[in-house]
């Protein structure tokens, strides 16, 4: 499913090179649930951005479904993002002037899905994450947990193969955080591959596979329940 080989990402900061990602190699099979942990600045977000085709590696190769992504044009990458990848961010990134339902439907709109089909799929997704009665609310009328559930519904609306979550509970209290984690874990049951970045050892520990990063390198990769 996902093959990362010797991928490096270097940023130039004031004449100095920062190796945000240093020859990282990683293979993730379909349906895996992987947690990524590590100190701040260890390159977790950089890794996730490259996996999500939001950023390009400076070195190394990255294949999704056996296809080398580094050779793809920007538009081809956009298409891969649209159909294969769902993002969940720490800061939700909902469009403030759109209703919850319209935020969830945004990927469908960009993909040119017909309105009547959109309605069904949005209603299903909202239902699934307990948002049925919040469809017409704008983001500022929702709680943090609800906002993140809207973001999750948006991430899965295209039925992607991979879900990438960057500290999805980082901005939430314990209770709503747990709710969000349960929602994300449920995606796995659908056969989605999930990679989740977290600072919370409790959350990281629940994952079937846990990766630890330090200074842009993958320093440990534990498979099997802790």
């Amino acid at each position: 499913m996902i093959r990362l080989e010797n991928v490096s990402r270097v940023f130039q900061v004031g004449g100095e090179s920062v190796h945000a990602l240093d020859r990282a190699t990683l293979v993730v099979e379909k349906g895996e649930y992987v947690s990524i942990m590590g100190p701040s600045g260890s390159g977790k977000s950089t890794l996730l951005n490259i996996l999500g085709l939001l950023d390009r590696p400076d070195e190394g190769t990255y294949c999704i479904d056996g296809r080398d992504t580094t050779a793809l044009t920007d538009d081809q990458q956009a298409t891969v993002r649209r159909f294969k990848i769902g993002f969940i961010f720490q800061f939700f990134y909902l469009v403030p002037r759109l209703t919850a339902a319209d935020n969830v439907g945004l990927p469908l709109v960009l993909a040119g899905v017909a309105p009547h089909e959109r309605r069904h799929r949005i209603a299903d997704a909202m239902d699934r994450f307990g948002l049925a009665d919040r469809a017409g609310h704008r983001p500022d009328q929702l709680s943090g947990g609800q906002r993140q559930r809207v973001a999750i519904a948006r991430a899965v609306i295209m039925n992607p193969a991979v879900i990438l979550a960057d500290e999805p509970t980082g901005n939430l209290d314990r209770t709503s955080g747990d709710e969000i984690i349960r929602a994300i874990e449920s995606l796995r049951e659908q056969g989605m591959t999930v990679l989740i970045v977290t600072h919370d050892p409790h959350i990281g520990g629940r994952a079937a596979r846990a990766i630890r990063m330090v200074d842009g390198r993958i320093v440990s990769d534990r498979k099997g329940q802790a």
Binding site: N49, G52, L54, D55, D74, D75, A78, T79, R81, R82, F83, F87, F89, F91, Y93, V95, P96, R97, L98, L106, P107, V109, L110, A111, G112, A114, R154, M158
Partner: protein, 401 residues
């Protein structure tokens, strides 16, 4: 992405930031309204002038004594008058087949009295032809009778104001007025016509041309009014008039012939150009509005970077982001155009109320040109911000908060 969805998305972006949108709408609207209003005023002025000209009579040529250096220009202000125009010259002009009517004119000023009332008014000596040539109409009685122009009949026709001043509300028909040393019988009164190109024809008395030459003791005419058969005959009439006078004046070209149409055409050209120029100046305000749109869109993009990053994360291509922001600025300029057209309609309504006499007319091209310029500038100036949005790097965009 479907067209309806693009428009829907942009519509919500426009209504989602009401202050920003209103500002841009206002700028566009003022630009559009000023193009329409100013070109309408220009066109109105053109019509006003052309109406004034046609109230003088149609297919009119004017023969003036004295030669002007530039043919077709205004009569010379100074210079000697080598030979006078006479009534016989005027009557000779009827020989031309291009000419329908001829009216010789003698002008002077004389005291006119009825009983104890006396006024100094303008006396016009002419013939029966003056009535149709100058487009005059009578409110009472009849005009100077046609017939032998050398007969100095003692009859007169009063202008509207002259009649009021001399007779008040009483009917003047059949009564006598004293003009100079002679008594004239009033046979008609002109309708109120007021000013026509600066000549007040309501404060006049019109008498037969022979009576006028006797009254002022002169043979020379002030000018000769000639009406051509039709529009196409005007230039032939002009040539004929000059030839006839040259024959009669021993080969001397000592008159000036002005055609009303040539004058009118000149004014027409000047005023059309002026209208276009004024509309062009107003269109500059549209360019200013375009620059405002560009600035405001650039600000909008810096405020909405995270949104752009997100759009890219959920699969928007560069092209889609470009279209979304371009359509947004186009939509704003379209709305601005609509508001501007409404504004100018309201403005014209007010002007019509204030100046009902003035022939306000919206030139057909002006709303179209204003709208096209507005939308074109909105889209053009929206291009740079939209491209900037499309080229944003998604990671940096999402990192910015």
């Amino acid at each position: 992405m479907r067209a309806a969805d693009v428009i829907g998305f942009c519509r919500r972006a426009v209504s989602g930031y009401p202050l920003r949108s209103c500002l841009m709408l206002l700028a566009m609207a003022i630009g559009v309204a000023s193009v329409v209003m100013l070109s309408t005023l220009g066109e109105g002025t053109r019509r006003y002038v052309s109406r004034q000209f046609s109230s003088l009579g149609t297919h009119l040529l004017i023969v003036l004594p004295g030669r002007s250096e530039t043919t077709g220009g205004p009569p010379p202000m100074m210079g000697q008058t080598p030979r006078d125009l006479t009534v016989q010259d005027a009557m000779a002009l009827t020989r031309s087949t291009a000419v329908r009517r001829v009216a010789p004119i003698v002008v002077g000023s004389a005291p006119v009295s009825v009983g104890s009332r006396q006024r100094e008014i303008t006396i016009l000596g002419s013939t029966a032809e003056l009535l149709p040539i100058r487009n005059l109409a009578l409110s009472l009685g009849r005009f100077i009778p046609a017939g032998d122009v050398s007969r100095a009949e003692a009859v007169c026709v009063l202008g509207h104001k002259a009649r009021n001043e001399l007779f008040g509300n009483r009917s003047p028909l059949g009564r006598f007025v004293r003009i100079g040393e002679r008594r004239f019988r009033v046979i008609g009164v002109l309708t109120r016509k007021g000013q026509s190109l600066g000549v007040d024809i309501s404060d006049v008395a019109i008498i037969p041309v022979a009576s006028a030459t006797a009254l002022f003791n002169t043979e020379s005419l002030f000018r000769i009014l000639v009406q051509a058969r039709n529009r196409d005959a005007i230039s032939r009439a002009k040539r004929n008039l000059q030839e006839i006078i040259r024959d009669r004046h021993e080969g001397e070209d000592d008159v000036t012939v002005i055609t009303q149409d040539a004058l009118l055409a000149t004014f027409d050209r000047i005023l059309r150009t002026l209208t276009l120029a004024v509309a062009g100046i107003a269109a500059i305000s549209l360019a200013v509005a375009g620059i405002l749109i560009m600035n405001v869109m650039l600000i909008a993009i810096s405020q909405r970077t995270a949104e752009i990053g997100l759009l890219k994360a959920v699969g928007a291509t560069r092209g889609q982001v470009l279209i979304l922001f371009l359509v947004e600025s186009t939509l704003l300029s379209l709305l601005g155009t609509a508001v501007g057209l409404l504004l100018s309609t309201a403005g014209l309504l007010v002007l019509r109320q204030m100046f009902p006499e003035f022939p306000l007319a919206v030139p057909w091209w002006s709303p179209a040109a204003a709208a096209a310029t507005a939308v074109a500038t909105g889209t053009l100036f929206g291009m740079l911000p939209a491209r900037r949005a499309a080229q944003l790097d998604p990671v940096t965009a999402l990192a910015e908060k």
